[in-house]
């Protein structure tokens, strides 16, 4: 504890270098947090879709009600469905209006005639989706069948892109943070060269001399990660209504506060490690004890 107090005292003597190092770290971990949240969010959406085995069958305009009822009955008779709900053109318009109520331009141009009739089929098991889809697609009155597989495929593709982009972006920022830590600690060593030489001559061990620099590196990391998680918390709190609105039925808010605690712990640990490794490189490069 005494050593941490001494390190903090040293940081206060040259606050601008300390600020630069901590801010570089916070930027790196802020961007990392965004990607982590996007990846976790993507996974939540994926799970939601996978847990709701639903098939939507859209009919051609020329299909009459008897033909629709026939297919509905055929699907029901398989015994694989939980619920089948018919959506008329008027109901489709009502749903469309509800979803686009904030955009009058989209509402003006659309009437019930534009929208297809459909049946929403809830399936008992996700494994049965294919059988229902095949059955619906075999009918000449069916225009299009939407299954969760299409959405899942699309989402997986997006998640992979986000992961790859995140990896590249975060790696670049991490390299910049490393270089800044090495530079700042290198400057500290240069400033304290005389002190280091005196300490060595009065019998300090190498570890005793190097320890404050390691603590300094770790402190930059922990400070940077803390700033990053705080910013993420504030942003999510501020934009939660908009995000929830975008996600519709998929409930993600309120986020469990433990999530932020775990995020902070993981990032602080990773950032401290970055700081310590950066300090080790700087010490190896610049600390010449005789």
């Amino acid at each position: 504890m005494n050593q941490i107090k001494k390190t903090v005292k040293l940081l206060r003597r040259s606050p601008y270098q300390a600020l630069a190092a901590a801010l570089a770290m916070s930027l790196t971990f802020f961007v990392s947090s965004i990607f982590i949240i996007l990846i976790i969010g993507g996974q939540i959406v994926l799970n939601y879709i996978e847990q709701r085995p639903e098939v939507i069958v859209f009919f051609k305009d020329e299909a009459n009600q008897t033909e629709i009822d026939d297919l509905t009955e055929k699907v029901r008779s398989t015994g694989l469905t939980k619920e089948i709900k018919f959506v008329s053109k008027e109901e489709a318009l009502a749903i469309y209006r509800e979803r686009n109520k904030d955009d009058p331009l989209l509402l003006e141009s659309v009437t019930a005639d534009f929208l297809p009739r459909s049946i929403d089929i809830s399936v008992n098991r996700a494994a049965d989706i294919k059988q229902i889809t095949d059955l619906a697609q075999a009918s000449e009155h069916v225009d299009k069948v939407i299954t969760p597989e299409n959405l899942v495929e699309q989402l997986v593709k997006w998640t992979k892109t986000i992961r790859l982009g995140g990896l590249v972006f975060v790696s670049t920022l991490l390299s910049v943070s490393f270089l800044i830590i090495i530079m700042v600690i290198g400057m500290r060593i240069a400033i304290r060269r005389e002190e280091v030489s005196i300490m060595s001559l009065v019998g300090a061990t190498k570890w005793y001399i190097a320890r404050p620099f390691f603590i300094e590196g770790a402190l930059y990391g922990i400070l940077g990660a803390s700033i990053s998680v705080f910013l993420i918390y504030v942003l999510l709190l501020f934009y939660s209504p908009q995000i929830q609105n975008f996600l519709g039925d998929i409930r993600v808010f309120p986020i469990n506060p433990l999530f932020f605690l775990y995020l902070w712990a993981a990032e602080a640990l990773a950032a401290a490690l970055v700081g310590i490794i950066g300090a080790a490189i700087a010490l190896y490069r610049y600390l010449k004890i005789r």
Partner: protein, 227 residues
């Protein structure tokens, strides 16, 4: 306690600082290492702390070859040797107390031990009342006393003083050497490099005179007459 056996030191630029030095120093000795600038006085002291290693020969400390002490054990040797540097090497941003405490901090002493032992050392060198001053606020003699206090606070077996009176007026220089003599009488071996003949001649101690890296004279109660 300290023994130089056929020690030579040549620097990479070819300059020979010490040439075939054979010297034995017993525990509790007080030795003046004299000679003009460039005679090899500082080099001889720096071989004892392993700031330098000999080109040939051996420097033994309690029969251990100093050059063979590994880097990770060097601090053990240095904790047994106190050093007063020619340029004091005090940290200007630390107070007198903090400068002296540095020697004990590296030994991981507790705060209460540091408080007690630093106060004792400052009292011994006569500057306890200046404990909270910064080096820039002290006179030359007080700066040198601070450096001595830092060197003796950890109670070393040997005290090396490299030109400790170099920038001091004669009276203050005499007081500083009196202080070193007092420390020596308490059992610490003292090696003092100097070219101050007045001091050497007044204190009548063993004198090892160096000239161009060689021992020219080694006298028990010697005198020093500059060339």
């Amino acid at each position: 306690m300290l023994e130089f056996i056929a020690v030579s030191k040549q620097f990479p630029d070819g300059q020979v600082a010490l040439d075939d030095i054979n010297l034995k120093i017993e525990g509790s000795d007080f030795v003046f290492i004299t000679g003009p600038s460039g005679a090899g006085k500082s080099t001889l002291l720096r071989l004892i702390t392993k700031e330098l290693v000999p080109s040939s020969g051996q420097v033994l400390f309690n029969e251990d070859d100093i050059a063979k002490i590994p880097e990770n054990k060097l601090h053990i040797l240095r904790r047994r040797i106190g050093t007063v540097f020619q340029d004091f090497k005090l940290l200007l941003s630390r107070t007198v107390f903090e400068n002296v405490a540095l020697s004990l901090e590296v030994l991981k002493r507790s705060d209460s031990e540091i408080e007690k032992e630093v106060s004792e050392a400052l009292e011994k060198v006569g500057i306890l009342e200046k404990a909270d001053y910064f080096p820039a606020q002290l006179s030359g003699g007080e700066v040198q006393r601070t450096a001595i206090a830092r060197a003796i606070v950890s109670k070393p077996e040997v005290l090396l003083a490299d030109e400790p009176t170099g920038d001091l007026d004669p009276k203050t220089a005499e007081q500083v050497v009196e202080l070193l003599e007092k420390i020596n009488k308490e059992g610490t071996t003292v090696l003092m490099a100097t070219h101050n003949s007045a001091i050497v001649n007044k204190f009548k101690k063993r004198v090892v005179h160096l000239k161009k890296g060689k021992i020219e004279k080694d006298q028990k109660e010697g005198k020093y007459e500059p060339d």
